[in-house]
């Protein structure tokens, strides 16, 4: 028996060694690009697909001859959902591997953990996820949505007749900074629209909370008081039990619509969506968006997933953060072309005002000063096939307000990126 497990161990290590080699075989003249997404631990659920998307985009760029005649060489590391490890790996990418740019992070805490490192070493980070704002670093480009590019339009929609003209709002979130800040902003916004505090309920659940009986019961109780909408910032894993409970307690979207800010196609893969039809999500991109760029994008991704036979490749889906990653990498590549160099300061300059025809069907612009993308906002309704049907969208991309005007004191903030805030 000893022998057997030893052999097991040996074969394992052998295969590992093989893996190891594949990294070292690379083109001579390359630009190293860091990819900093958790491949293990709790965040792997969301971040692995971003890693694959990044690799695909890089492959495409290389297929077109790379950037400035050099091939891009991805350096993938696994911060293992461990926040201090993010900082360590970030430093390693910048100092040891000397990468020109890093694409990565999902949670705000991971971004905040690497931020000092990037500011210290003047690195360049592209952050592809919607977040709570309240930050604007010269060393980070935010390709995800700021609150005013996701949360506020969603609420405006709920207030409209088509959205069901909701009078009462149940703000449900997992207890961490993104939901708290978002809800804070929303509350201020609702006040400005004349919604009284008695018509706003704010509830938080611990991480990985899986028993939503009480909360759904409360939602029902609350909704008896008038047309109610639930605004959910519940994070990843807790969504399935939440939606299942909703369905089983017979709370239909026609009675109480739920609009979620962190539920996309990827998350829906884990849920039986038939009972959820009509519930909403607000994003800047949906896989179902109908335009040539997107159909190409989706096709490429599905082909890539098959080719690399990623797990669950047969029903590979794209979602907003993946699109943001894709856009981010392309914009960076364009900027490098423009700057004729990968020097961070030159690239930063070149990025200002950079435009890219994105799968969302719009031509997105990197803002001149605030390091955020101008993004369109779309409200999608969950369909029984796990896709979203866009029921509302802004006429043109909105400029981001990372310093939300609804948070006191932000009016004094500068509208350009400065270190250390």
């Amino acid at each position: 028996m000893k022998r057997r497990s030893l052999i097991k161990a040996f074969t394992l290590s052998a295969s590992i060694a093989a893996m190891g080699l594949s990294w070292s075989i690379q083109a001579a003249e390359t630009i190293k690009v860091g990819i900093l997404h958790s491949l293990s631990g709790t965040m792997a659920i969301s971040e692995t697909s971003l890693k694959d998307m990044a690799l695909m985009t890089i492959e495409q760029i290389n297929a077109k001859g790379g950037v400035n005649g050099k091939l891009l060489e991805p350096v993938v590391v696994d911060p293992a959902s461990n926040w201090p490890l993010f900082a360590e790996k970030g430093r390693q990418l910048l100092t040891q591997d000397k990468v020109a740019v890093v694409f990565g992070c999902w949670t705000s805490v991971s971004r905040k953990s690497v931020l000092p490192v990037f500011e210290e070493l003047n690195g360049l980070l592209f952050y592809p996820v919607q977040y709570e704002g309240e930050e604007m670093s010269p060393n980070v480009f935010y390709t995800g949505a700021a609150p005013n590019q996701q949360a506020i339009p969603a609420v405006e929609y709920l207030m409209s007749d088509d959205g069901g003209a909701a009078k009462r709002y149940f703000l449900l979130g997992t207890d961490y900074v993104y939901p708290r800040t978002t809800n804070k902003i929303l509350r201020a916004f609702l006040h400005s629209k004349g919604v009284a505090d008695k018509d706003i309920e704010e509830v938080y659940t611990p991480f990985g909370h899986s028993d939503y009986q009480t909360i759904v019961a409360n939602i029902k109780k609350f909704s008896a008081g008038g047309k109610t909408a639930v605004i959910s910032t519940v994070n990843g894993d807790s969504n399935v039990p939440f939606y299942k409970e909703l369905a089983n307690q017979g709370l239909k979207a026609t009675d109480v619509p739920v609009v979620a800010f962190s539920v996309g196609e990827e998350e829906l893969r884990g849920i039986d969506t038939k009972p959820l039809v009509g519930h909403l999500a607000a994003w800047n991109y949906f896989e179902s968006v109908d335009n040539p760029v997107n159909s190409q994008f989706v096709a490429d991704w599905q082909a890539y997933a098959k080719a690399k036979n990623l797990p669950g490749a047969d029903k590979a889906v794209t979602n907003d953060p993946m699109e943001a990653t894709y856009v981010g990498i392309h914009m960076w590549a364009q900027a490098v072309e423009k700057a004729k160099s990968t020097d961070v300061d030159k690239v930063r300059e070149a990025l200002a005002g950079q435009t890219f025809k994105a799968p969302s069907g719009y031509t997105l612009t990197m803002d001149k000063s605030n390091h955020h993308l101008h993004k369109p906002v779309m409200i999608g309704e969950i369909q029984d096939d796990g896709q979203f049907n866009v029921v509302w969208e802004t006429e043109q991309p909105l400029r981001a307000q990372p310093w939300s005007p609804f948070i006191p004191g932000n009016d004094k903030r500068p509208d350009y990126a400065v270190k250390g805030n």
Binding site: K2, S5, A9, L12, S13, S15, I16, M19, G20, W23, L39, S40, V76, V77, D78, P79, A80, N82, W83, P84, L85, A87, E88, K89, R91, Q92, T95, Q96, T107, S108, V109, K112, S113, L115, P116, V117, E120, E134, D175, Y176, V177, R180, T181, K184, P206, F207, I407, P408, G409, G420, N421
Partner: protein, 359 residues
């Protein structure tokens, strides 16, 4: 037969050897920060990455040592040492946040629109108090928990699971934003410590040296304990608590002493860890981390003083390497390591070395 004393260990492996190796390692550790001060690009220059990485591992080594005092010697496996570590870290973090925020409130409080600091933040702008806090908070918690636990003679698995529940509760508590410790984000983006740029190479070097100093100090402490009658009582306690009681010793006092001591050591390690790593947040309290610490000790060798240090070094070294070389597979290696060690190295690496020494 497990001989708990470093002395006997070295007797078997040859005292000269162990001392020689120890001295060599110490010299290297002392050299690192100095080399890091060399101008960038110099062939001998040690990068900040290496320095922080090693510094981090040294902090972990201290935790491992502290854990070994209670597990290896007193036979109490704590799965909650991450809590003490984090508490120490938070204490230091509070100071660093105040330092960064200047006269204003720490950033996370301002956008929870809090007007003034909660009472427990009082005095944290003073480095000295933060340092005391880094020892007091874990110490007191350990004292209270230990007092009750040992009073009702909770031990073995019960103790482990209780400690695990404790750190889990702590984690949930610190995740809450109302708790006033930055919730899930914890503390980040520190600027200055005692007026020095925290990112300055020299500051790093000093912090590193302090860590080494603490490590050496706690090693010496552990060694003295192991040599003293106290150490022998602990071993006796581990192997036959009844007998010890009928010899007229009160086990509770002994357990409590070593338990609190270990917690305080963890706290200090945490306090040194935070400024070097640059972030502290509740996930440090997750049961997983504490279990991993237990693995460092087991791998290195329980009931020896050098073992835990080896363990911490090996595991974390591996981690840092694997997570780059083949991210998807490093969990397999870690898992396999746990199993192989428990199956084939019940006495850890040191045990292996000892065998060599005996032959």
């Amino acid at each position: 037969m497990n001989q708990p004393l470093l002395v006997t260990a070295s007797q078997k492996a040859g005292p000269r050897w162990t001392l020689a190796i120890g001295a060599a390692v110490l010299l290297v550790l002392l050299a690192l920060p100095l080399l890091s001060l060399l101008p960038a690009g110099h062939s001998l220059q040690v990068s900040a990455y290496t320095l922080t990485l090693v510094g981090k591992i040294l902090c972990y080594a201290i935790v491992a040592l502290a854990l070994d005092l209670v597990w290896g010697y007193a036979g109490l496996l704590s799965l909650g040492h991450g809590l003490f570590f984090a508490l120490g870290g938070y204490a230091m973090g509070m100071y660093l946040m105040r330092e960064a925020a200047g006269d204003g409130l720490p950033a996370f409080m301002t956008f929870l629109s809090w007007s003034e600091l909660p009472w427990y933040w009082a005095g944290t702008q003073h480095f000295a108090w933060a340092l005391c806090l880094a020892m007091l908070a874990p110490g007191l918690l350990a004292l209270v928990f230990g007092f009750f636990a040992f009073r009702s003679r909770i031990k073995g698995v019960y103790f482990s699971i209780m400690t695990q529940a404790l750190t889990f509760a702590g984690m949930l508590l610190f995740f809450r934003n109302e708790t006033g410790f930055g919730g899930n984000n914890g503390f980040t983006s520190f600027r200055r410590i005692l007026g020095f740029e925290i990112t300055a190479q020299s500051t790093r070097a000093v912090l590193f040296l302090l860590t080494v100093a603490l490590l050496v100090a706690s090693l010496y402490l552990g060694w003295r304990l192991a040599r003293s009658k106290f150490g022998r009582v602990l071993t006796a306690l581990r192997d036959a608590e009844n007998r010890l009681m009928f010899c007229g010793y009160d086990p509770r006092g002994f357990k409590l002493f070593v338990w609190v001591l270990s917690a305080v050591l963890c706290g200090l390690a945490g306090a040194l860890y935070v400024p070097q790593v640059g972030i502290i947040n509740p996930s440090e309290m997750s049961p997983t981390n504490s279990i991993e610490a237990a693995v460092w000790v087991a791998l290195g060798g329980r009931g020896t003083l050098i073992g835990p240090l080896l363990g911490a070094g090996l595991v974390n070294g591996m981690k840092s390497w694997f997570t780059v070389a083949f991210p998807e597979y490093w969990l397999f290696c870690l898992g396999a390591l746990f199993i192989l060690v428990t199956l084939y190295l019940p006495r850890g690496v040191v045990g292996l070395l000892k065998k060599r020494g005996e032959q």
